[in-house]
Symmetry: C2
Subunit: 567 residues, 2 copies
């Protein structure tokens, strides 16, 4: 190991003139140059209604793969091999952390129950449908030896909505509710996937009974709670340290460094403790944006806001480039090339199952989520105040199936979560390269099918999401200002204002418009509302004085631009 590293090093310093291990430097050069290319092209395509940066990167990645394949005459080099370490240790944390850091907190917490419902129950439904669909449909086809564990793994792999794709395709400012639902679902989804995978390894799969299901539910609860708490703890610790020691006094860079390192530490700790690192780092970002960010100096605020976004942006672009280039690794396609038709059929079946699996929970759960929310209380308040949860309650309401426009909205939720990405690929590598490293026919077919599904869903579904949103929800961008005030009570304009403007009223809505809950009935009928109210009280009287936050910054010499910076 050491000698290989050394040789590489010697080559790099120009000390020995071997050409074999130049590869690592060459591949870094290619990657960085392509990243620059993606950024410039992404900038030029900014106004396009079809393309986005992730698809650009994916396409450029595939094209580069083709070029390299042609120049190396079919022998693909190391550049291609998808490294899960690279993905999980370096690329994923900044992306998810930034998502937590920049997420509209109100929007996220107001939809918390819906997000949990979609993310946990929805993923399970999707998992069962895809697993049993695969068992039934693949039974008759000759695709090598796949056991029950493999089929269940397929269910978990293809239930993983890719939160990174979602971040790229949906725009938080244009469609905040859609974004928070689909992205939040993706984050919770990860916890579910990890539990599912653990369950598949440890449990007796042949005898599934109530005890196992109970254990699974308990595991999920434990995982979710501990991951969230770890993230929140990391965020609060950073807020407390920066506030107490007033680190910005000597150096702005130390504050920024401490925030980055604490966030990364919380992710790696979660990974170390077998928790869901994604959930942890997401909540760490959330807490940091609520407390820590307000405790640092003005320039640190600007720096962190943009630096985190930039890191996340580079990681995302790199990831799609990487997935695109990895897709062309010849090793994987060798087995498949003998029977291309079969591989195509497997991919199509999986894609179909993904579509059905998601439909199977989006529509019923929206319906269900409704029935519980359909209380007279909502009806009454509905005319009185335009707060976000009422609008949500209305839209995920009993009459959605009658109102065609609301059906459109559900279709959008369904569609926007169809993309499968790097998480699916990483899980597929985990499952199907363990026993024999693509030597087995069935494993090889599953790996290539995963890549096919990921490429197809990202490119086709991704390309069509923006136009679809514009077509199904046509009033999101144009008629907002004229309708906002005049047609508040019609569903259409409400939706428009919700989608467009949910975050604009973020600050005001929480403080001013909420009626003080006066009774237990309130807690029962409007739980989110009430919980939020008491949280605010707790936050203002205990949390902020200790951990800092908006309005509790110690020595700040006045920061007039502050409200503008973080919206």
């Amino acid at each position: 190991m050491a000698s290989g590293l050394l040789a590489q090093q010697l080559v790099r310093l120009g000390l020995i003139s071997s050409t074999s291990d130049h590869a690592s430097v060459v591949s870094i050069n290619i990657f960085v140059a392509l990243l620059c290319g993606c950024i410039v092209i992404g900038h030029l395509l900014e106004e396009s209604r079809w393309m986005n940066e992730s698809i650009t990167a994916l396409v450029i990645g595939v094209c580069t793969g083709v070029v390299i394949l042609l120049t190396t005459k079919g022998k693909s080099s190391h550049i291609f091999v998808f490294s899960e370490d690279l993905f999980f240790i370096y690329l994923l944390p900044p992306i998810i952390f930034n998502a937590g850091f920049q997420v509209k907190k109100k929007q996220f917490f107001r939809n918390f129950m819906t997000i949990m419902l979609f993310g946990a129950v929805g993923t399970l439904i999707s998992f069962f449908i895809i697993s049993f669909g695969a068992i039934e449909l693949f039974k008759k086809m000759d695709i090598g030896s796949l056991d029950i564990g493999d089929f269940l793994a397929i269910g978990a792999i293809f239930s993983a909505t890719d939160s990174v794709c979602t971040l790229q395709v949906l725009n938080q400012d244009e469609t905040p509710l859609l974004y928070s639902l689909v992205f939040g679902e993706g984050v919770v989804n990860d916890a579910t996937s990890v539990v599912l995978f653990n369950a598949l390894q440890n449990f007796d799969l042949v005898h599934i009974d109530a005890a196992i299901i109970l254990k699974f539910v308990a595991d999920f609860g434990y995982l979710f709670a501990t991951s969230t708490l770890l993230g929140a703890f990391g965020g609060l610790l950073s807020a407390y340290m920066i506030k107490k020691l007033y680190i910005g006094r000597h150096s702005t860079d130390r504050e920024v460094a401490l925030m980055i390192l604490m966030a990364y530490l919380s992710y790696m700790l979660a990974e170390l403790l077998d928790l869901s690192g994604i959930l942890t780092v997401f909540f760490c970002g959330l807490v940091m944006s609520h407390y820590t960010w307000h405790n640092v100096t003005e320039s640190s605020r600007i720096t962190t806001k943009h630096a985190f976004a930039t890191l996340s942006f580079i990681a995302e672009t790199f990831l799609f480039l990487y997935v695109g280039m990895d897709a062309l690794d010849m090793e994987k396609w060798r087995f498949v090339s003998s029977s291309p038709g079969k591989s195509l059929r497997v991919s199509s079946i999986l894609l179909g199952l993904v579509l059905v699996g998601r439909a199977a929970f989006v529509f019923p759960l929206s319906f269900l989520s409704n029935l519980t929310k359909k209380s007279p209380d909502d009806r009454i308040n509905f005319k009185q105040q335009v707060s976000i949860e009422n609008v949500v309650a209305h839209y995920i309401s009993y009459d959605v199936l009658i109102n065609p426009f609301d059906l459109f909205w559900q279709i959008t939720i369904w569609w926007a979560g169809l993309m499968r990405g790097a998480v699916s690929i990483a899980l597929a590598y985990n499952q199907f390269t363990r026993s024999g490293h693509t030597q087995l026919r069935g494993n090889a077919i599953m790996i290539t099918s995963t890549i096919t599904v990921v490429l197809f869903s990202t490119v086709v579904f991704g390309l069509m999401t923006k136009p679809l949103i514009r077509y199904l929800l046509p009033h999101t961008s144009k008629q907002h200002f004229s309708r906002m005030s005049s047609e508040v009570s019609t569903p259409k304009s409400l939706l428009s204002s919700l989608i467009e403007n949910g975050h604009g009223s973020e600050v005001e809505a929480g403080r001013g418009h909420i009626l003080r809950p006066s009774s237990l009935r309130m807690l029962l009928t409007k739980p989110t509302h009430t919980v939020h109210h008491y949280w605010r009280k707790f936050d203002d009287s205990f949390m902020r004085p200790v951990f800092g936050g908006r309005g509790f910054v110690p020595f700040e010499p006045g920061s007039p631009t502050e409200p503008n910076l973080h919206t």
Copy 2:
């Protein structure tokens, strides 16, 4: 390889419960936690006149190494092994880039000839003295089989002034001239080291003649010129693209990402082409701060300024932590433990040679640099204008050896460049683990001696640099304002104002105070001055209109804080 990676990944996802490969996640956790610790302790020790962050990190690293050694009962784990890839690919580029980005450009270019003299000729002198000193002194000692190539390598290894240590110990704002000389020398030094190493590998070492020396000089010139040009090209390309495409229009993050990626690309390209990556990325940073930085949006400016500093800060702290922990790798010390006295003697001899080698060029070269500058022209202008190169010319002047205060200043230059760091360790690993990987007695002793010298020089010399500067140059911080105007003509106050204030007048000095050179005599007697004048004309009339820069920003809606931001 793939299976190892996979196992690691599976462990991380909690899929298999092995404990062997948890190591990588554990080590990342330890490192990140220690980094956080270093930052907090560094903040608390900020007011200390002895400590600095690098020494703190080094001490914490060694302590952690001891703790881990004790807990693993003498079997050191993977955490310890110094990876040159990690150093050269990830840690060094951000540090040197940031140094170039934040360097006082005027100060650097006005001392350009002195820096080149010290960096190139000085390093060569030091190299020869250490090499031949080692040959003579080690001849009688029984330290295994070292050939002539090894001894010359020792010369190159211990001639490498560590620019990272310099950055940490010297303060650009307090002692700008000292900083720019010693740090600039360190950067040029790297180019010299690479050429030396190449020379040692390719040339016939037994028959050194004029042709070989000439080839060496030509190589150095080529390397220096191409590396510099590549860096400048990278910087200019980024400036041109960002200005032409006006990337900040859509996204601030894209601008920042593009700057980071272009800088990294130029470094990796230099490594690919066997140039000096350090020189390239340094000049890329320099050009970017002169052009690109002025073309981006206001928030990008704040972000880049702090984000680059933060990245560099994290990399530096990590590096020292790493060197500290690596020092305790038991593997290396096994051979030495049998004869600790001999190892100690070798280390002491090397340390002595480092001291002598540096003294051998600092004092004579200062003297020499003087003789050439001691023209009547300087004398005349000396009373008229207080521009930096005159002060330099005066201070590195004929009477320095008489004036005790100037001797102090030379001692400071000598002392501040004595530290040896990660570059030395990386080069030592290169040379002495190639043939037999520390199996040979001589190689083992050289590796451990290098570590000893690095630790000793960083801790002892590093600790004493701040107090030494205060003791030898006591007027740098207190008497500046009172002396500035009244005692301009006395050497003492001139030095004070130079050291303190060199960069304060950075902007004005260049434009206003320079007399227009009217003849060829001017170019001959004041070359730096004249070159600078014509460069400014060229810069204003051609470069800035094309590449942007201060005052040539296209759509900037007024940025009043700008001058404050970059100083």
